[in-house]
C-alpha cells in the first residue's frame, strides 16, 4: 500500500485498524541469486537498490535478530558529509544527496532534518584541522563554513562560550545541510521498499557457516533455518563482520569495539542543531520526542558485549555539562552500546575478498549511519555487477597491502 495524505485520512476515519503489515515474514527458499547477510540499514539498502536498479528480485536478506536491531537502532542519527579526503567526500556526499530525496524515494518518512551539524574547535590544532576541512570541502563543492565562537553561540544559543572552562570553544565548523534522520524509519523504509520489490527479509535466521565448492567459490550459507544455496553473498554485518568472514576463511583488517550513546528524559525543544566535539568526546542533538541524544566514545578494548564501561559515558557527560550548563540537572533515561567495526585508517571497506562470490561492506566504524543510502547504493552495484564503481573503488581491502590508505582519523567525531 502506498502512503499518501488520502490514505492517512481514510485510515484515520476507520480508527487506523486496517493498515497492512509493511513487509512479509517469509520462510527461506532453497536457493537465491544473491544473499545479503545482515538486515541493518546498510544491508536493507543494498537489497533495495539491487532489486530496484539492477532488477535482481530473487534475493534474500538474512538477519540473526530483528531488522534494524543492531547499530542501525543504536546510533545517534547524525548525517553529514564534511570529510577530508576526496574518496570520503565522494561516498559521503553521494549518501547526502540520496538522503535529500529519500523520503520520496521510499514513500516513507525518514524524518531527514538538515538542521546543521556544528563541530567545535577547542584549541589551535582543532582550528587548523577544521579550517583545512572547510577549505577541502568547499573545493569539492560540499558546504562547510567556519564560525567564530560568537557566531557558534548565535547558531546554538545553548552553547557555553565562556573562556574560563577547561576546554573553551574558540570556533566551529558548520555544515548546514548536515543534520539528523530517524534511524528506525530508515531501516523500516528500506525493508518495506525491498519487500515490495520481492526481496525476502528473513529475521531470526543466523548465518552459521559459508559453504564453498571445489573451486573455492561460494555455494551457499548454513543458517539457523537450514542450508540456502546461492552463488553470491554480500556480508554487511558491522561488528560481526570478522566472525562471518572467518566462516569463509578470510581474515579482516578490523577490530570490534563497543560505542555508547545515551538519552535524557524528554524536554521541550531547546536545541535546534547538532553539536559535536572531537576534543572533549561528546556530541548532542535533540530528538523529535524531546530527548537529548548524546554520543560517547568507544571503549579501549575490543568486545562483542554491546555494552561499555560506565566511565566512558561519565566522561562524556562531564563534557556535555560544561558545554551546555542548562542540561546539568536533566536525568538520563537510557544508555546502551553497539559494536562498531573499526579499520586501521577509519575508512570503510567495500570490496571483494579473494573468495569468488563473496563481497563485503564493513568498517564503517563509529560513523556508518550517515552513509546508509550511499553505502547500500554502491554495494548493490558491486554485488550485482561484480566490479566496484568509481565511488566504491578506493575502498578496497587491497589498500592495506598497497598502502593507499584513506586516513580519516582526524575527521571522525569520536575518539578512536
Amino acid at each position: 500500500m502506498k502512503f499518501s495524505a488520502l490514505s492517512v485520512f481514510l485510515q484515520g476515519l476507520k480508527g487506523n485498524r486496517d493498515w497492512p503489515a509493511q513487509w512479509r515474514t517469509p520462510e527461506p527458499k532453497a536457493a537465491y541469486d544473491a544473499i545479503i547477510v545482515g538486515a541493518g540499514g546498510h544491508g536493507l539498502a543494498t537489497a533495495y537498490y539491487m532489486a530496484k536498479e539492477h532488477g535482481m528480485r530473487n534475493i534474500a536478506v538474512l538477519e540473526k535478530g530483528w531488522l534494524g536491531g543492531g547499530n542501525t537502532g543504536r546510533n545517534t542519527t547524525i548525517v553529514r558529509s564534511n570529510y577530508l579526503w576526496e574518496e570520503s567526500e565522494g561516498i559521503y556526499e553521494h549518501a547526502m544527496k540520496l538522503w535529500e530525496g529519500l523520503s520520496h524515494e521510499l514513500n516513507y518518512n525518514v524524518m531527514y532534518s538538515p538542521r546543521g551539524v556544528m563541530m567545535l574547535a577547542h584549541n589551535i590544532h582543532d582550528v587548523q584541522v577544521f579550517k583545512r576541512h572547510v577549505h577541502a570541502n568547499r573545493l569539492a563543492g560540499i558546504d562547510n563554513e567556519w564560525l567564530t565562537a560568537e557566531q557558534a553561540k548565535e547558531f546554538c544559543p545553548l552553547l557555553n562560550i565562556e573562556r574560563n572552562i577547561r576546554h573553551p570553544v574558540i570556533g566551529a565548523s558548520l555544515q548546514r545541510r548536515g543534520g539528523t534522520a530517524r534511524h528506525d524509519a530508515v531501516a523500516w523504509g528500506y525493508a518495506r521498499g525491498a519487500d515490495r520489490l520481492g526481496v525476502d527479509i528473513i529475521q531470526n535466521c543466523e548465518v552459521t557457516g559459508i559453504r564453498r565448492d571445489a573451486s573455492g567459490a561460494v555455494s551457499g550459507v548454513e543458517t539457523a533455518k537450514g542450508f540456502i544455496a546461492t552463488k553470491r553473498v554480500g556480508v554487511v554485518a558491522a561488528g560481526n563482520t570478522s566472525v562471518i568472514m572467518g566462516m569463509a576463511g578470510v581474515r579482516m583488517p578490523l577490530e570490534s569495539y563497543p560505542l555508547q550513546a545515551l538519552v535524557s528524559e524528554p524536554v521541550k525543544p531547546m536545541m535546534s542543531c547538532v553539536v559535536m566535539s572531537n576534543t572533549v568526546h561528546a556530541y548532542m542533538s535533540q530528538s523529535d520526542k524531546g530527548e537529548l541524544v548524546i554520543g560517547a566514545g568507544t571503549d579501549a578494548y575490543t568486545s562483542y558485549s554491546q555494552t561499555g564501561g560506565l566511565h566512558i559515558a561519565t566522561h562524556t557527560l562531564d563534557a556535555i555539562c560544561e558545554l551546555f550548563p542548562a542540561v546539568r540537572r536533566l536525568r538520563m533515561l537510557r544508555n546502551w552500546g553497539g559494536i562498531v567495526d573499526v579499520t586501521p585508517d577509519r575508512s570503510p571497506i567495500i570490496g571483494k575478498p579473494p573468495v569468488p562470490g563473496l563481497f563485503v561492506n564493513c568498517g564503517w566504524g563509529t560513523g556508518g549511519f550517515k552513509a546508509t543510502p550511499g553505502s547500500g547504493h554502491v554495494f548493490a552495484d558491486l554485488v550485482a555487477r561484480g566490479e566496484p564503481n568509481a565511488i566504491a573503488a578506493p575502498f578496497t581491502i587491497d589498500r592495506f597491502r598497497t598502502g593507499r590508505l584513506i586516513d580519516e582519523a582526524a575527521a571522525a567525531a569520536v575518539a578512536h
Binding site: 570478522s242 566472525v243 583488517p253 578494548y301 558485549s305 564501561g309 566511565h311
Partner: protein, 97 residues
C-alpha cells in the same frame, strides 16, 4: 569497568590504571627485506578479532608500568587469566577461574 589482575604487582586493580595494547602475540617480521607486502599487511593491519577468547596486551601504566598479556572473553568481557610478557599463551577453555 574491568577489574584486571596485574601479574607483576599480583593484585587486582581497576581498568583506569591500565592501558590497552591490542592483540597479543603479533610478532614483527624478523627480516624486513624478505617480508612480502602481504605479510607486512597481515602484521600491521589484520587482526583475529574473535568473538570469544582473545589474547591481548595491557600495560599497567599507572602502576608498575609493565606490559603483560590477558585472555579475555570478548562476549562477557570477563578476564580468564593474565600472564607476564614473553610467556606462552596458556591453554584456556573459556572457564572463568
Amino acid at each position: 569497568m574491568l577489574l584486571i589482575r596485574c601479574p607483576y604487582c599480583e593484585m587486582e586493580r581497576p581498568e583506569l590504571e591500565f592501558r590497552y595494547g591490542g592483540e597479543a602475540h603479533v610478532a614483527r617480521p624478523l627480516d624486513p627485506m624478505a617480508t612480502s607486502d602481504d605479510e607486512w599487511a597481515d602484521y600491521l593491519y589484520f587482526r583475529s578479532n574473535p568473538r570469544g577468547l582473545h589474547a591481548e596486551r595491557w600495560r599497567h601504566i599507572n602502576g608498575c608500568g609493565r606490559f603483560f598479556n590477558a585472555i579475555r572473553d570478548t562476549v562477557s568481557d570477563k578476564i580468564v587469566v593474565t600472564y607476564k610478557a614473553g610467556e606462552a599463551r596458556p591453554a584456556t577453555t573459556g572457564e572463568i577461574a
